[in-house]
Subunit: 380 residues, 4 copies
């Protein structure tokens, strides 16, 4: 099976997330990176491309040029990864979608709701796929959890607890020249949400993905503890889901001792589930009135949903990159089906797309508006 | 040292908490149970007293009789434990306080704010001590945590996460004849709070005890998932502390897989602390920029505050009863100092009393009012 | 029910284990301490007794005097706790057994095999009970584990892994005046085993208690890492059980980071069990081909064997003192049945006695002999 | 940087470990798989190659043909992965080494000591590198552990506890047609060691890798619990290291509930380390007299040795495949230096090679001989 020809926008030398996308694209041999507009200047883009072994002729100074010229090549890219800061997502994605090039885009969708709506329109019109890398949905035990909820193992859901604490912004790194900290605390590049946009959206997305429920309304209390920080670095949110379930969501970048402590707990009438991103190969299942069970990836009691996105036997841990790669693998399958004129399969629905992206944008927006209104309830 | 003569109101044969108080009173040999009004009828009281080896002449049919007659005996009780359902606390406590008999009372303080105020007035007038068994404050590692916060090990506090989930009311046990479930879900006996009153107050109390902060305002979303249940069995609360810290509090009795999963996490500018009641001999300390440290009860790095309430070396776990007994031991010390005419010592301030009780009542009341007002902020 | 009148030999002011025995005896109100030969000199014994509120007339200078005089009193002690260093156990126990006073004795049984045999003979002849405080057998989840093995939940046992590492002798504390370290590293007072005698016997006892199997032969490699230390402070042992199961046992006092990390793992044809003393309220049960289950004390899936020795609901941890108290409670029941002329009940067989003590002595002796013979197999 | 052209011997469709090697080779884009003798028949080899997108002309029926023809191509493979059952390792590796093609070989080295010696001679003569995939040495926290021991953070090592339990052979799968089980329990294909060869060698290798110590002598008690099984499926080993440290090693394939529970604990005079393969991003460091510290991959307190083999920030777990890929990345570096005529760098010494392979063979052989001699000590 030939790999899909892939381009990348953003992800130059220093960027953490670009390297992640490249490994994820390569891990299962589904994609071959052949072109890039990797940095904001032609020189840097060329240098980053050289380091990656790209043909210099396919290292572009900006995404527009790349879209135009790649679309014109017979061996042009079939798909592109957009891994820039948030404010560039929409324009870049649109440029490729308009040319029928499939887009795999980092989250959150965009930095403004206006951009998001433009992008949504572009996706609707395009003859190309749009995949949003809400990567945590790619973890096998998250797939397992979703399947268990869908199968009724928990009964009707009552309570959802989602949290994503970090500690890396406990001190004002954005004033000390750390590039990651600069753009992520800058409303112009990140959007209206700080921690809620960067990581709260992951917690929100995961809660919805696993439960199959949508947030109907929320009340949010956002805080900025970092001195002079404009965007929130800590957010407390109460959730009301359609159908009656209730939830809480906490995102923080100022909680010392937390690295990427994304954690989801879901409780229904008949049982509960608990999962932690930092130990992703385990899923606690707590059927009411029975001992807690620790289900392991591919282990006894784990099912087809997890196995479909696992590579190795239980007891040998798969991690973040593998979960990320599961989205790329899913995208590759969908792209190939589309290229072959085949209909989508059921699992294609597991790929986060524009709907998940818009849900995330509404979540961020609602959090900001609620908080500005002293945590009043805001409908999504 | 002679044990203090103790009486008990409530705590008859079937009651879980009465047995706990008796073990806690006895564990360090500070108290000797000699009298009781253990049940609501004289016959049951006598039977329960007989099972405990009490002199039948000191098994009373009600607390009023007990207060009167014990006060008249030269060898009458010096202190009394009040372990009835909440709605009896105030009247019982007042009866003994009025006679100069020290009161050790279960929480929450009372079932109504009116009763709470009467009791507070009685405490203010009485020449006797009033101790409220917010027992989780007796755990050594909670003392350690409080001392660390007070010593500045965390810097100014920013974020507090407190939770107390259980699962025992996931099904409507109150309709199946379980006495514990009946009174705890009955507003007449429990008060206005369901899970917030029964266990949310513990989480609230612990958060304040460890941080030394007071909740200034809260927004609460209370739910009753149990069919036909009047009181909340799940509560989501956002907290604003005096001084600017923010928090979340979750109490639940419908979260399958949770037994008594009280957990506290506190984050300051310089570090964090994490503690879980079900593994109480451990305290995670996470100084910013250093590896996480696991401090054990009486182990390396644990200090005087924990050692003062520990009985055995590290690695041999102490549990719930020992923590409970630490309140009794603290009460015994305070009582003896008072009897000897000695001034209180600094550690006497660690004993929860009427102030903690009133704070709990305000917390319950605020949660209920906020929730009735669609989770609007309510000042405490 | 009247408490049983109890005396104590050893356990003066500084001794850790004496205080433990006193709390354990008192916790369930089964015993009342009324006499003692608490220290090796009359003065110290009197001072220690005074601190405990004992009648000075019943604070004796040595155990012989105590045995004689208490036996002569109409209100004399009915039982005695022997909590001295090991080399005194035999003589003290014999003095009381000979007078029909029940003996609760700390482990290991004695410091020499010769003494052990004398004691065994005395127990055989005596009209009194002899209970050895292999206290870890009192933990509810150990009782649960034993019941599960007996019920066949694991199938025939294949492999047993037992270990008890500590770190407190990593440095030569015995040369720095620490009394505990002095006698425990002194062959004259401890016997031929260092770590194997002090804690290896616990691991051995627990392995046998849970599996119901006996060690048939062992090969041991004992080491003394502490400079100038005569007795072993680290021991590696391979075990062959009657019936074909195999095992390993590790005891150490020089493993930094380990407090009292006693741990037992048992594997049969159909499943496994894992238990750790420092988190004693949990038992992992791993049925082959199913997810691991975490059984909690008194929680869902825990059975009658654990409930029989539990005091409080699941999720509220019980610890070391409660486990210890379970042996005292068991002893109290057996003593009362004997006093009442009633036959023993089935659970009396759970109390470690002279047989467990002799098995421990044979274990120590075999370890020492095997190690002297370069870890050759030695039959027990 | 151009990827290195890679061939593969073994690793056809069903083989677990072949897929692992391919992902590991690809993950960091250091290798490009271009040829294979993937199965034992030309047809299967061709089919497996087709599934991987290999040029049919480079899918060979056996390794001899592949070595000969690839060596003759100007674009022939530069390196080969040997991932067959053990008895094929030596002949295959020799065929490529003789032609100057670098070999990356699965462990254990060979199935017989005779083969091992031939291979060692071939390596000594060859102008090509030989890397043995003792893959667990590639985990970042194992590198961290090794560096800490080397830096003296633990002081002189006293005690080593290594174990690798699994449960997959608890039932006689080899009689039920499972190919993996068949060859791994067959002496003709696996060699003299069962669990000791398959996984015990990993535990042994890791213990030596981290401590820098060599096993001087061992005493082993091997068992075969599976009915009719010839090779050991459970092994208990006592270790004596050069320099005086002592250890225990346990390997098992019949311990229900254990998937790949490789675990290493190392204790020195000044501190200890604990690591578990199933949670590989954590390393416990226990300096004597201080609280335990949990060091995370790339987190606070982790050092250069771990960072050198990490791809992503702390809190995002890397797993088994990433660790495996670290050996491939290390091999790629060494191969490129050799191709460029550059001298080896210090980190090349971290790559397990023929010495580690011979040490493993001696370990297996010593275990088998010791066990045959009733667990007598055998020098390595």
């Amino acid at each position: 099976m030939q790999p899909i020809r892939l381009g990348m926008v953003g992800g130059g030398n220093d960027a953490f997330i670009g390297a992640v996308h490249r490994i994820a694209a390569r891990l299962d041999a589904h994609f071959d990176l052949v072109a890039g507009a990797l940095s904001s200047t032609p020189e840097k883009s060329l240098a980053s491309g050289a380091a990656l072994g790209l043909d210099p002729a396919r290292c572009y100074g900006n995404f527009s040029e790349m879209a135009e010229r790649e679309a014109a090549r017979p061996d042009g890219i079939e798909a592109v990864s957009v891994v820039t800061p948030n404010h560039v997502h929409a324009a870049a994605a649109c440029a490729f979608l308009a040319r029928g090039i499939h887009v795999i885009c980092d989250k959150p969708l965009t930095s403004t709701m206006e951009d998001a709506q433009k992008l949504a329109a572009a996706v609707a019109e395009a003859d190309a796929l749009f995949v949003l890398t809400h990567n945590y949905t790619g973890y096998p035990m998250i797939r397992q959890a979703r399947a268990m909820v869908a199968d009724g193992a928990l009964g009707p859901i009552r309570v959802v607890q989602a949290e994503y604490p970090q500690d890396w912004l406990s001190t004002p790194l954005e004033k000390e020249g750390l590039k990651q900290a600069e753009w992520r605390t800058d409303p112009a590049r990140s959007g209206a949400g700080g921690s809620v946009g960067d990581i709260g959206t992951h917690a929100h997305n995961l809660a919805c993905f696993v439960t199959g429920l949508e947030v109907e309304a929320l009340a949010a209390d956002l805080q900025s503890f970092g001195p002079g920080r404009v965007l929130d670095d800590n957010a407390h949110v109460m959730l009301r889901f359609a159908g009656g379930a209730r939830g809480m969501l906490w995102s923080s970048q100022v909680a010392p001792g937390n690295e990427n402590a994304l954690r989801l707990r879901v409780y229904g009438e008949k049982g509960g589930l608990e999962w932690a991103q930092e130990d992703p190969n385990y899923l606690w299942f707590t059927p009411l009135g029975e001992p807690k069970r620790l289900v392991t990836r591919n282990g006894s009691g784990a099912g087809a949903a997890a196995a479909a996105v696992s590579r190795i036997p239980p007891g040998h841990p798969e991690g973040y990159l593998e979960g990320f790669a599961n989205l790329y693998a899913g995208a590759a399958g969908a792209i190939r089906r589309k290229q072959a004129g085949e209909p989508p399969v059921e699992d294609d629905a597991l790929l986060p797309g524009i709907d998940a992206g818009m849900a995330g944008m509404r979540f961020i927006s609602a959090c900001v508006r609620s908080s500005q209104d002293n945590a009043a309830w805001v409908s999504l």
